[in-house]
Subunit: 158 residues, 2 copies
């Protein structure tokens, strides 16, 4: 049995979490991470309740799965989410080495409900740079952290 | 006084945090969020120590700034980071409504130190889709969370 043998089942689960989260006063998003060993880790959007702009359902599920697994590397895990993942959640999945993502509703559904996922996709496509200016300003010692890293033979790479 | 009146000062601060974090057993990244009221919030990379693939220095600093501010919206805040922010950190800044980012080292320095930031930028430019397949699989009720959201007149929008 692989973690994604039945995508519909876990997508239903994610959608149910999303509906429940609205009833609980949160945003309309839910997610489930199924790790390689079949363990199921739930996440709901906690942005407004936790005052945490990064607490998207997928991020919450990934953080919980990693904590429960005792590893920052979730290779072989599958992420199921009620809505197409935004760039934050895609990035979290990339860094968590998630193997594959399934989603139910898409970015346009999210946009119709008033969320900025589609706009932030435009930022990454390069058409909305004004949303967030990013400026390079080299300082003395910019490379010092990397030098220290290379010289630390006890480092944990990721 | 604006939060970015002296970028070099806060970049030095971020670089010092990054160097210290290596000595403490973490990754070579540090960040500082200065909110509109001038409050300073530090972050260091906690990925390996917390088993949290999302605990990049910038994300940690943004989460702390939002928690301390009691708001998921950090409008007017500036993010200073020891290294060019990866897509995860850019996305966290977008959702947190950070106004501007300054960085010291760049993605190529990170790549030379063995980090995947540059590869993940390629994912977002569309040239490395194999890194993370994302599959749409509509299920009955895909739109139910958004319907519930629209009908919840007590919702907190963000």
């Amino acid at each position: 049995m692989t973690a994604d043998f039945d995508p519909g089942r876990y997508l239903d689960h994610a959608v149910r979490l999303a509906v429940q989260n609205v009833a609980d006063g949160g945003g309309p998003f839910g997610a489930v991470v199924v790790t390689a060993d079949g363990s199921v880790h739930e996440g709901s959007n906690r942005v407004t309740r936790d005052n945490d702009p990064t607490a998207h359902a997928e991020v919450v599920a990934i953080r919980r799965a990693a904590a429960a697994s005792g590893s920052f590397n979730l290779s072989g895990a599958v992420l199921y989410t009620s809505c197409e993942p935004c760039p934050l959640c895609l990035s979290a999945a990339l860094w968590g080495r998630i193997e594959r993502i399934y989603f139910a509703a898409d970015r346009h559904g999210a946009a119709r409900a008033g969320f900025d996922d589609a706009v932030f996709y435009e930022y990454f496509s390069g058409t909305r740079p004004e949303l967030l200016p990013v400026l390079h300003s080299e300082v003395d010692g910019s490379e010092a952290p990397f030098d220290a890293w290379r010289h630390n033979h006890a480092r944990t790479e990721y």
